[in-house]
């Protein structure tokens, strides 16, 4: 068996290698990201309503608008984000947000230290969504705000057995890290496809470490079997700027 493995790695091997590559990339930090940044930066998304297209567009524009110090610090914190149940319109008077998704059902705060976000956290409650997200049939066309760039981004996201709260976590990491790495820019056209399951063998090329400069993946412990890794998202860009 060990011989066979060395010839053709299993899905688990492929996912583990890609997950390790992401950790190494994050530890190395962003290219040119030597800005001193406060440690332990966290972003907050206030969730009233989840519109997948608005969520992808909002996440991208939030990450694109960050200043260099915040980008580097938040990237090193693995784009950590807390999702809080709340109505952006009820919160904005006392806590002005940084970004609002089209439609107004989602609002972004930070990235900031936990202390800076504590007043907002005390006002709201952790978003709970055990049901899978309701996604429209067919792929979504999302335009990142900005003048059309001519660049295209293909995103594929797993939804089968994925809780709504976990969906938010996976998609947010996928899009935010891709933006910070330069794989997604203003005016890009993003095609978002939802599938029940992303089989690693269907994404062998994208998962190849040699392609990492144009690919962002989201691999995490399986929500129903924590001993297994599962592929939750793949983002492929035609911008060749990704670097670690």
């Amino acid at each position: 068996m060990s011989t066979a493995r060395s010839v053709r790695p299993t899905d688990a091997d492929v996912l583990a290698a890609a997950a390790r590559a992401r950790v190494r990339a994050v530890r190395a930090g962003l290219a040119g990201g030597d800005h001193p940044a406060p440690r332990e930066l966290t972003a907050v998304v206030v969730v009233e309503d989840i519109d997948p297209a608005a969520f992808v567009a909002g996440t991208a524009s939030f990450a694109l608008a960050l200043e260099p110090g915040s980008r580097a610090g938040w990237y090193r914190a693995f784009t950590r984000t807390v999702f809080l149940a709340g109505r952006p319109g009820s919160v904005v008077g006392r806590h002005p947000h940084r970004r609002l998704a089209p439609g107004g059902g989602l609002a972004w705060y930070g990235p900031a230290t936990r202390r800076e976000l504590s007043a907002l956290s005390r006002l709201l409650r952790t978003f709970q969504g055990p049901f899978p997200i309701d996604v429209p049939p067919g792929p979504l066309a999302v335009r990142v705000p900005g003048r059309p760039s001519g660049h295209r981004v293909e995103m594929t996201v797993a939804t089968g057995g994925v809780r709504s709260d976990a969906y938010l976590v996976h998609v947010h990491h996928l899009v935010a890290e891709a933006v910070l790495r330069g794989l997604v820019g203003p005016g890009d056209a993003v095609r978002v496809e939802h599938r029940d399951v992303l089989a690693p063998q269907d994404f062998r090329a994208a998962l190849d470490p040699g392609r990492a400069t144009t690919v962002q993946t989201r691999i995490s412990r399986d929500g129903t079997d924590p001993d297994r890794l599962r592929l939750y998202g793949v983002l492929i860009s035609n911008r060749d700027r990704g670097g670690h």
Partner: protein
């Protein structure tokens, strides 16, 4: 010339309801006696209505999860013979064990309690024991065992709240329904859990919102451990046009703690225990003495722990006050020292029970006038 007549208003007094799962503790007794004096004294100056409906307490998971646990663990117990302490100790143990309740079974019992007024035999037993104690205390006539369907259904109330934009409803994601406190700078507050079960706030809204009317003023009475919830309730009621006031009462610590009764620690100081130690005092002296202590010495923010010795002294003092009042009433040349109308001023729309009661304590040589005695005995 005829002066315009001010429209009569009705004061709606709504104290937080107590689940019949444990004995009445000094904190409960303080709330009940403050409510009793407030309602009876305020009734002498205007219209008063007390809102008490057991279903505000029984249509809660706090009660039904416990009762479901009793059904499972003790299907053959004869609850009509159990003591309040024995039932209360089971309740404390149940809450101490942090078991996960069977969601569906609790849901069935919640629906049964809501629709049919179902109460587990242990709860009925507790209500019967309370009734005897409350009769002795002179609050039995307030209707504290009243049970009727809540004024509107849970679904209709959620729709009403949603129509006003007061909810954050995440049921479509399998999540909870929250009241949108942040619109007033208050925290988001869960109203229905992700398991679909409402908490104690929904029955209160179901009962009170349909009562709102232009001639009514609401007084919400609660213990200060749940002030945050009541601040929110007040905002929600105001959103529907209600005029409201709140009376927040501090808990009475027993055995060094001021925690909720579900943690226990009340042995020897339940209303059942207090009824038993009233000693040689007659019923009127017990009633007046209990009020002198719980309303006249424990002010609304008092942090004083329960003191049995002080309660006994209050009962003794009550007996002497009543003796003097009786002697005065028998005296053909009696002088009426008390001035009930002045004492019954209601600057906030209700008579302040502490001030009224403390005035009895402050002038020990002067027996209370008959109108005042009637409120307290």
């Amino acid at each position: 010339m005829q002066l315009p007549v001010a429209p009569a208003t009705e004061l709606v007094v709504a104290p937080v309801t107590i689940t019949p799962t444990k004995p009445l503790t000094p904190t409960h007794v303080k709330g009940l006696l403050w409510t009793d004096v407030l309602v009876k004294a305020s009734a002498q100056t205007g219209g008063v209505r007390l809102v008490w409906n057991n279903r505000m307490a029984t249509v809660t998971t706090q009660a039904t999860a416990f009762w479901h646990h009793l059904e499972l663990t003790e299907p053959h117990t004869d609850w009509s013979r159990e003591s309040e302490t024995a039932i209360g100790e089971r309740y404390v143990r149940f809450h101490g064990e942090h078991r996960t309740a069977d969601r569906e079974a609790v849901g069935v019992r919640l629906a049964h309690a809501d629709r049919d007024g179902w109460i587990h035999p242990a709860g009925l037993r507790m209500l019967r024991l309370w009734q005897a104690q409350l009769d002795l205390l002179g609050v039995g006539g307030l209707g504290l065992t009243t049970d009727r369907p809540l004024a509107t259904t849970a679904g209709a109330m959620l729709d009403t709240l949603a129509d006003r934009g007061l909810l954050l409803d995440h049921r479509r994601y399998g999540g909870p329904v929250h009241l949108d406190g942040p619109r007033w700078g208050l925290p988001l507050r869960q109203l229905v859990g992700a398991d679909g079960h409402p908490n104690y706030l929904l029955p209160i809204l179901r009962e009170l919102i349909p009562m709102i009317g232009p001639r009514r003023r609401f007084l919400l009475i609660h213990d200060d451990g749940i002030t945050a919830d009541y601040l929110l309730l007040e905002r929600v009621l105001a959103e529907f046009g209600a005029r409201t006031a709140r009376l927040s009462l501090s808990r009475v610590p027993v055995g060094g703690t001021a925690r909720s009764s579900r943690y226990g620690g009340w042995r020897g100081s339940t209303l059942g225990d207090l009824s038993a130690v009233s000693g040689s005092a007659d019923r009127a002296a017990y009633r007046l003495g209990m009020r002198l202590y719980f309303v006249g010495t424990l002010h609304r923010r008092s942090a004083q722990p329960f003191r049995m010795g002080l309660l006994r002294r209050c009962v003794g003092r009550a007996a002497r006050l009543l003796d003097r009042a009786a002697a005065r009433d028998a005296d053909p040349n009696r002088w009426n020292a008390a001035d009930p109308p002045a004492r019954l001023r209601a600057p906030h729309g209700y008579v302040d029970p502490y001030r009224l009661t403390a005035s009895l304590l402050g002038r020990p040589g002067v027996p209370p006038a008959p109108e005042i005695t009637a409120i307290y005995t």
